[in-house]
Symmetry: D2
Subunit: 459 residues, 4 copies
């Protein structure tokens, strides 16, 4: 029930992990064969047997309890399944951590790829929103209080900027921080004599992963980097989701979630397939006034679990000697959970951003309802030339206070003020026009869009 | 693969959680019937249909994605399974959170009971060790350096003290902090008019849980208290497991894990049941010198995941209005994981403590090998009367430095020192006898055992 | 700059901590004298010299770097300051951890007392709000969407319930979990021979703390319990502060923070004392429309730091042997920070709750503006008798959808529906009256107030 | 007392932070002047007044409590200090967050530079150890049990690899992720009309920081990246420190900390300067057998605080609208603490690695004391040719078991076995020689050293 928000293309299930371990064992057998260390045919034989569907997860789990990790039991079962001479190629020269760590890297690679797809789709969606709403003026809010105007284009450009940064991080880790782990019992590959490094290279080739300069079994920065890249994804998405839940409040109503489920490029559509009586997403038959932002809530529900898990992964870097007693073991679950949660958040987030309904008219109405107060500072500046700074400041301050207290729009209070008789109403109206008080908004949107286009073109 | 250390009597699986939700819905139907709000027979009809085995977890999950939590979909499926008039008793007047929160409390109660059993067994084991090894002198170690003597009895008494405190916390939460959550759409039970409180009381009765003064849907201290009680369990166990891994080091060898698997009172034995060629736990056929402390590692692997998860649970208390958008959802998984991890750690810990092999002879040898240095301070005190404090201090300091540098035992260095000619060797030998430099060790062990006995007798 | 929100009566500064260490050393000297282990007068002499103002914090820090903790250096400086025979009573038989741990308990006791005062004041304030606003009907909001009505009295009763639970936790730790730590070099009090336990008792008496059954230097549940009690305080306050920031949104406007600074019973008023041109708290001269909820933000700013710090404290329970190499040291800062942050949050929170401005009229207007939609479910129930359930459901559903789309209030849509011609308008009006759809609200408020009164009377 | 381990060249004190804020305000005034927006001379006037020593931290703190952050009060004090016309250039067009965020970036830049120096020094030290001890054979330890041989060169190469990766991360953040934050009240720079972007460019130039594409006030990945780069430093160092505490155990004794304090290239030496009676670092006059690894403990004490703080920083990325109510405020302290803790850990770590005493002879003795058991696997392989695999396996297994049980070295057990009569003793001796069972150790050391040299040459 807990992982009710699990979505996205990356499979981080126990079965997927088991398969990644088997893939590693199979690649090792092929590498051993290519190195001439096991008889011809061993690689193919092990590869043929390395099929997760043929193994009993519960049995692997039971055996794991004997050794403290699932690899020795799995290797024994695999060897039995291979049978004959080729069985001796299974797990040859490897230690459990070699298989676990490399399988984690394989899982992470798939999760990064799937997550990147969804983040990229979300970024494209945000770019579209930024472009479309470059001119959609809305009230800016600081500390949850209405402040001065901005545009929804700028808001979406900020989202875009975070998503693009998250995507860049995923790609950097994908390209530079994944690597095979292979070191044998204590990281020296002793049982291979001088053949160790060549075998690592062959294994890396088989798996399409780089070979590291030296084994990293107790140097865990690669693991931290995978976790961090994912945490950056959920961090960027959490800002968006938080904005959406707030903008979608009944009292604000400036955005609403789409119906969801359109299988876009992110490939992350959830389909209940439950026929005609299925409720619309986020709806409530009992409370027709509700339109719950389910995707945003799912993003937040996932994202908020990541910091604590990341802390565990980072703390686990304190690993003893040649294999840690506990720190390594504590790392498995949180890392896998981070992959799942970030992948799910990205899938929901892609849906959220791409399907977002923006109500520019409501933005305008909300701004108008503020009665000019958000422009008070600008009015002061506009009147300063005529009245001098201090007097303009006092006068507008008093008018604003009166407006707040009475609910009368600032414009009306100002126009009724005898001290401003000489000031043309147009000057006040101009100062009160939010559409002309947007500073660099357009430039900022353009810059974010340009950066996004560059990224899309050059990766 | 991640939860390879899952053990213990508490079931926190998706199916168990689903059943807890169904149990809650069934209890609600029975309570509604007792309150005369639904036709006679509804309670029995819903109860009969509320069987997790008849529901498809995957389908529940798919529907959950539409509403952001599994309850509405589950309620619909349950109503369909019940059929007829009685179907209208399903979920009547409840909100999703009522069912989720109450089901979590049911899960937690079972987990607390199972975990308490294992912690109690571990505590009894620690008490036995403390009693048996009251006289087993060993070197005390501070900052991972040998310091002054202590006894293994005192070490085990410290473990016992932590376990008893953890057990007391579990019981306190069990007795005072569990409660039904039932408030309806916004916590007022509006749809029941004046009948709400009576219905809560009936529901509580059906579930054997207290009724709270008022709904706690967005007052999450009860959830924090459950999580904290479990974190105290893993905290107490982590200290024990860390000690065991260190004392079991090849170079120290003062304890070793037992073979495991004896189904003792904790009922937590893991049995691989994989026949004659199963390796002994912790053994390595390739490295006969190894005896890996698997249970201690499992405890540490579980315990180290808890602090980060606890942080998420505590952070999730910041819940908005009458139902949180994200914070509530972020709480489900970490809380469930904490229940599972603490339960597993307790099961492994019970095994660990009850099966621990203590090598008192090795403790003695290790202490002897220190050549008297850990007693240097005491020798100084013993010589102070004869030589005066400062001279004694300088003399013993010089002798100790010589002993460290040369490897010659401190006793021999001292006896060879002409300045000590007049001091009888027996006085030096007495000062160098660790068995008489144990201060309040015995008193401390007795106090811990007495407190434990009291707890066992009066709960 | 970071701890800009530091407030409250508890002093957790370096100087306060230093004084707590000196208090411990002084109490030890007095206890030694009472035990007859040091010459008469030693206790008074050490006590006289144990004044933090006479020590140079920087020098203590420099010496600390040599030994890894501040105690040995401090003890040396203290002995020098005492001089003569009595100097030998300083730190006699103690280990650094004895002094550090006991001083932390002293700091914690003061922090608990100060924090309890502020939490109690906040709870009284919440009780007042709950009583005053028992009848203040407002819209309930779930997932940040308007749902069904509730009262502000119920909201405040929920806050009260959390604060009372937090207070109970502080008191329980205060009474049952604080204790002297005194064990000497390895926890056996070896250097005192048989006198150890009596000395512990005397030391405990001098400090007004309980003596534990045995030293707890590496059994850290007491430390966890202090941290947890504080985390419960910030958790309860964070819910309140989040509600306030949301209810104070310009678009909602149902509450506003008071001016702050009134030195109420919590004694935690902050006074800027910056004369006539000081801005009102939360105000902005440039943006007169803003009324920033500074106290709520301060509470959130403090509260959100606690979960991560708590995780560190809990993780630090894994302490090696008789003194941890790192885990103990990692605990000092986060524990102290938690004391400070919880104390500050409580001080701000007391201010926040006691000064809160509730705009019941705005609550009413916001509810009215919802045009009856929050009562749609109830209208359905009311019409079911006349029209049958299914038809009532369809009809109200269609009317509600029309109301949402058109902005026409639900009442008007319903009254204009020919199918409802036969239904008296009064029945519809009654069903649309939120004040009669509050279920057990009043009972819940009464229950929370009664529990609060009981707590206040019986502690 | 808490931050007793604070060291390193980076100043993260309140005063340093205040100065960074003043530097930002001064740079803004100069930028405004260059943009022609304030009178000539304003920049110099503000710069002259922007001296932290002239401000009262306590007063700034008091004013901060009115607005929820220290900037408005500071700006007012600064304007007063500047006086006259130029005062109007102070804080012109800026919002508090612009100043806070940019000052944090300035602090971070200094911390990164200082920390990089210490990490680089530590890396050079590790490289030296790896090169010197390429041939120092030692027992490898997995799960805290002796396993198979390795060299200390490989161990140090692993440390080096982590340090180099941490350094690369610091440099990447330094070069690509630091930037000015400047957006005005809501991130549009509205008050500057079209001049905003040019002003940002000038401000960036004044501070030597890049100008971002758009303001990042609520897009916090830059802040996360700073925190993460620092967490990678403490992660890499924690592995080293843990190894040192374990290798320095009395029972292991393979390394010891140096005396510390040598002001090496890291420039981070701590000097107690407390004269002739100062104790050696880590020593204990009472327990001459102790040599506490103070630097390693300080590293661990710092490093273990970082994961929880990092979690808070990452969680804080969920920032509302145009300025967060709480999340931004919760970020200040943990980020600053991370800078301080990582800087301190790096300073201690540099000391630790550069001063480490390696006892290669003890490594050899410890290995010899294992009696050949760590080579059992290899003996099996060596005998397989003569005896066939299965028989060799059984025979060596039985011999190893006998050796473990009896304490007789494996070699003697084997030579006494009649079944091995025909096997030349030299073949057994060769198989039992750890120096020839090191696999790729040398290659790995070479690869790590080469990568380090490349990094040093090309940055």
């Amino acid at each position: 029930m807990g992982s009710v928000f699990a979505r996205g293309a990356a499979d981080t299930s126990d079965t997927a992990w088991l398969q990644a371990m088997l893939d590693t064992e199979a690649a090792l057998a092929r590498a051993l064969e290519r190195a001439g260390l096991v008889p011809a045919g061993s690689g193919a034989a092990v590869t043929a047997a390395a099929n997760a569907a043929d193994f009993d997860l519960a049995q692997v789990g039971e055996l794991a309890a004997l050794t403290g990790n699932p690899v020795p039991g799995l290797a024994r079962l695999l060897a039995r399944a291979v049978g004959g001479q080729s069985a001796r190629a299974v797990h040859r020269g490897a230690t459990s951590q070699d298989i676990m760590d490399t399988s984690v890297v394989l899982l992470a690679r798939r999760a990064i790829d799937a997550t990147s797809g969804d983040v990229a789709a979300a970024a494209d969606g945000a770019a579209r929103l930024a472009a479309e709403h470059r001119g959609s003026v809305m009230i800016g809010r600081t500390l949850l209080q209405q402040a001065v105007p901005t545009t929804f284009g700028v808001v979406a450009a900020g989202w875009l900027s975070g998503l693009d940064a998250a995507l860049a991080g995923l790609q950097a880790v994908r390209e530079t921080r994944l690597a095979v782990q292979f070191g044998g019992a204590a990281g020296t590959l002793a049982s291979f004599g001088p053949d160790g490094p060549r075998l690592v290279a062959l294994l890396a080739e088989e798996l399409g992963l780089p070979a590291p300069a030296l084994p990293w079994h107790t140097e865990r920065l690669r693991i931290i980097d995978i976790a961090t890249a994912m945490a950056r994804v959920t961090a960027a998405l959490s800002k968006i989701a938080r904005d959406v839940t707030l903008l979608a409040q009944t009292e604000v109503g400036e955005v609403a979630e789409g119906a969801g489920g359109s299988a876009g490029p992110g490939g992350s559509a959830g389909s209940a397939g439950s026929g005609g009586d299925a409720p619309r997403r986020g709806g409530s038959s009992a409370m027709p006034n509700k339109n719950n932002p389910v995707a945003a809530i799912a993003v937040l529900g996932c994202a908020r679990q990541v910091p604590g898990l990341l802390a565990t992964v980072v703390a686990s870097a304190e690993q003893e000697h040649q294999r840690a007693a506990g720190a390594w073991h504590a790392e498995w679950e949180p890392l896998r959970d981070i992959l799942r949660l970030a992948g799910s958040a990205a899938s929901w987030g892609s849906d959220l951003v791409r399907g977002l309904q923006v109500d520019a008219a409501r933005m305008e109405r909300n701004l108008a309802a503020a009665g000019g107060l958000p422009l008070a500072e600008r009015v002061t500046a506009a009147l300063a030339q005529a009245l001098g700074g201090p007097r303009a400041h006092d006068l507008v301050g008093a008018a604003a206070a009166k407006s707040v207290a009475s609910g009368v729009p600032l414009r009306d209070v100002l126009l009724a003020d005898p001290a401003l008789e000489s000031v043309p109403a147009e000057r006040i109206d101009l100062a009160l026009d939010p559409a002309t008080y947007l500073g660099a908004s357009d430039t900022f949107v353009a810059a974010a869009l340009e950066a996004h286009t560059r990224r899309n073109q050059h990766g």
